[in-house]
Amino acid sequence: MTTSAILQAINGTSLAALLFLVASGFTVTFGLMRVVNMAYGAYYLLGGYVGLSLAEATGSFALGVLGGGLAIVVLGYLVDRFLIRYTGENHLAQVLLTVGLAFVIGDVALKIWGGDSLKVPLPPALRGAMELPGGLVYPTFRFALIVFGLVVAGLLWLLYTRTPIGAVVRAGVDDREQVAATGIDVDRLFVMVSALASFLAGTAGVVGGAFLTLYPGAEWEILVVALVVVIVGGLGSLGGAMIGALVVGLLDAYGRWLLPEFSYFVLFGPMAVLLLLRPRGIAGREA
């Protein structure tokens, strides 16, 4: 019982690391650009598939991760530039447009990669299991994922709070007209932040594909859980996304373990309660 509880805690934490990769992009692009992009789930899936093909072709997991991320950077740029730009600040239009886009991506991916669950091949160093103090055995890759998530979160946090670019982004989240008025090229800033967010979603697909596998429909499952992360954490807040990812990852792991038939309820029930108390999430600000 205790062993399982500990294993579930690690499961939840490694899921949290993955969720953070997807949710951080979603939340920061929303905070800065006021864009709701429902295609992030499809970015995740497509990045995963591209990374899978690359990793299989080259035999290098690292190249797969990098390539999956870069492919989505290109796609994300085109989508921003030629589609989302025309929706202005109309969230309804953005949601419908990006949902439609996700349908297109999902269907084309189904045609190319088929309907079976595919697993991104891992390098030998990350395969297998490792033994923890106390005799617990746990897959090595899940630990690597937690470390990876922590490193990315740390780097993002430094970028966000300690660099001039981060300062401009934070200022842009607060009041982007004012930032534009001080002579900063806001459009270029948007492109950079959006590229980073796309890159994170694409790489998340590759690393996620190595343990959750990739299959048609995975794009919506990951998106919805990432949305809960964002809702719980508060839209537009990077710190909120970190807390939210951890809360949601642990709730999901324990929910699946203790109440498998109602695991969605375990995930969304607390969200509904939180919403009643704090409609804008833990770290969200009143608008």
Partner: protein, 311 residues
Amino acid sequence: MTPARLAVAVALVAAAVALPHVAGPFWMGLVTQMIVFGLLALSVDLLLGHAGLFSVCHGSFFAVAAYTTAILQVRYGVPTALAAPAGLVAGTLLGLVFGLAVRTRGVYFILITIAFGYVVWGVAHRWSSFTGGDNGVTNVPFPAVGSWRVESHVEYYYLALAAAALLALGYRVLVRSPFGLALRGIKGSESRMRTLGYDSNRHLYAAFVLSAVLASMAGVLYVYYNRFVNPVAASFPVSVEAALMAIVGGTGTIAGPFIGSAIILGLRNWVSSFFELYAAVMGLVFIVAVLWVPEGLVGLALRLSGRTARG
């Protein structure tokens, strides 16, 4: 009603009544489906077109009503006279709970309704001992009340048509009532309506519950037409497609959602008959609708006719 509109209405009713005499069973099934999903789109549009709230969980009310009716009817042999109202009540009760979402606005409302919708889908999908899992509930009979019973798809078509006509009339009365006008006011400017003393949260909550009732009615009509229900009915694409139907047809109108439903379902049937990637085509329809026809076909027609009248 002007004589021209009256003539159009009479012609439409005559065509709808005469349809089974010219169309085969496949077309009757498709048209019945268009009516049912038109009602679902209409329920979404009560919030979208009249109150300015974009809900993405209406598949939930639709599915919960359908499941309740199907489970009672199939597993417990409950007659239609009780099973159908029970489905309606179940969907409405869920609406009373999910209505809490109106505490939020804008993006938060959208995201929260998506999440709510997934709870229902997740329960339908995972709680297989009760809902039948992915297989769902099958062998739902045609409705029968006392000695009166529906015996064919054509008869069911007439039933659905009559129900839709009655509901559309009721909807018309609702949106033209002081309550409906207050909703429009909230959509236009919530702060102004608050200043005027309207409790906007209470109005939006009532609108949310009413639209859940309508979605539940569509769900009950759906399950007797479809003869089975599975988690797909509660899935995200159903909810978001209902909104798309309202938008393609024209939001804030009564004909719009039905026209949109006919276009979307007709298009999907047509494209899927010869093109494998029809889901991608539907996705493109979303994109095109948003970028080029945001006011919908009814809106487009009104704008074009207005232009020609002026020009």
